[in-house]
Symmetry: C2
């Protein structure tokens, strides 16, 4: 098996010859956990300048310095797709943001619904999880995670021209498909495991921007539904 190079997210401008100071956590990870030595090579990205090959110039216990060599990938921004979801229990919520990152969402928006059973979502923790997922999946873009807000507020201020695909397994009424829909700004909304409340469902059904899409005859867990919905969208209207 080919040796897989480490990919590290850094919050610093990238460019050939640029030196990158490492903070304590990064030094611990690279030199303590992964055992890199001086002159070892790895990939770095910052979500803005694409991916660069970098070399370890100085490895210390509490810090270090990398030097950027050449660009290995340009910045690849995902399509203009918001991913809106109701957080569930912790491990599954982590999975959901990981999957939204891998699947190419451009912005991740946790929302509080009438039946959401987790209102202690921490934005910084979810953002850290997104960074890890981007490191793993080879992406050069890091979707920003919003603060938790009320679904009703998000729908109240829904922007003109953005379509909303929503997946509610208990939804009565006609289901539609993405075939023939136009690309452009979209959002995907995944309900909580208990489904939407009646007022939420009524509101969604009367929004001109909304499109109810079926995810098949079986009930999916929220993290499975997230990947399935993103697959339908990416394969019809996205960058697959």
């Amino acid at each position: 098996m080919a040796t897989v190079k480490i990919r590290l997210y850094v919050d610093h401008p990238l460019g050939g010859g640029q030196s990158l100071p490492l903070n304590r956590d990064q030094a611990h990870y690279l030199f303590g956990v992964m055992r890199l030595k001086a002159d070892a090579e790895l990939f770095v990205f910052n979500g803005k300048d694409g991916e660069y090959l970098a070399r370890v110039a100085k490895a210390g216990k509490h810090g270090g310095i990398l030097v950027c060599l050449e660009q290995t990938k340009p910045l690849q921004t995902p399509p203009d797709l918001w991913f809106i979801f109701a957080p569930i229990k912790k491990a599954r919520t982590d999975f959901i943001v990981e999957k939204a990152t891998e699947m190419g969402a451009a912005r991740i928006m946790p929302v509080l619904t009438d039946f959401t059973n987790n209102d202690r979502t921490r934005r910084d923790k979810l953002q850290a999880h997104v960074v890890e997922a981007a490191e793993q999946c080879g992406g050069t873009f890091v979707p920003p995670v919003d603060d938790l807000q009320k679904l009703n507020n998000v729908l109240e201020n829904w922007p003109n021209g953005r379509r909303l695909m929503f997946c509610d397994e208990t939804l009565a009424g006609a289901r539609e498909t993405l075939a023939g829909q136009s690309p452009g700004p979209w959002a995907i909304l995944i309900g909580p495991e208990g489904g939407f409340s009646t007022p939420e469902r009524e509101r969604l059904n009367t929004m001109p921007a909304a499109l109810a899409v079926s995810l098949g005859p079986r009930i999916l867990r929220a993290d499975t539904a997230a990947v399935a919905a993103l697959t339908l969208w990416q394969s019809s209207l996205g960058d697959w």
Copy 2:
């Protein structure tokens, strides 16, 4: 929120008036963990006779009896789709079989590939996980899990008339889509996290039954790839 009734898998024929003896584990779950009392109602299914409403006739510490009332769902068999995958580390492998069940695979086949990093897969544990997923997702069918076998053996004995969709992110060459493919017997093969070896890839590329499908420009973890591939297949050729 509506009260969600428990769904229990039982290995016993179902029919109106039929009594169902419970084993120790089932009694512990229903009466110890879920605190059901005599006369409580729940759903039961056995993978063959659909789903029935049942009532607790006798609740004991080490056993009990349910009585079947009326059928609430007919048996719904999934399309003829095999799901073949290389087991990865334990938690992710559990996720993969859970997701294959939710997404409607008819048969689950763990395989050993050249780069598989887990050869200790236990069939009975995976099957138990599939049963749990079927209980959760409202399905009436329980896909059987095969014993772990070598991918090469599976390909060697590939049945006539069954197509094979495979997803290998590092695959060179043309990618195809499912549009215009005919339904009928299919299989989906998800590679291990290290990808396929060169001989495996060459073999797959020369199989007339095989179709290489892209899952987009980002690298997906094996469990994400499983849901994405099943979504593509189910939405084009399956029962969605």
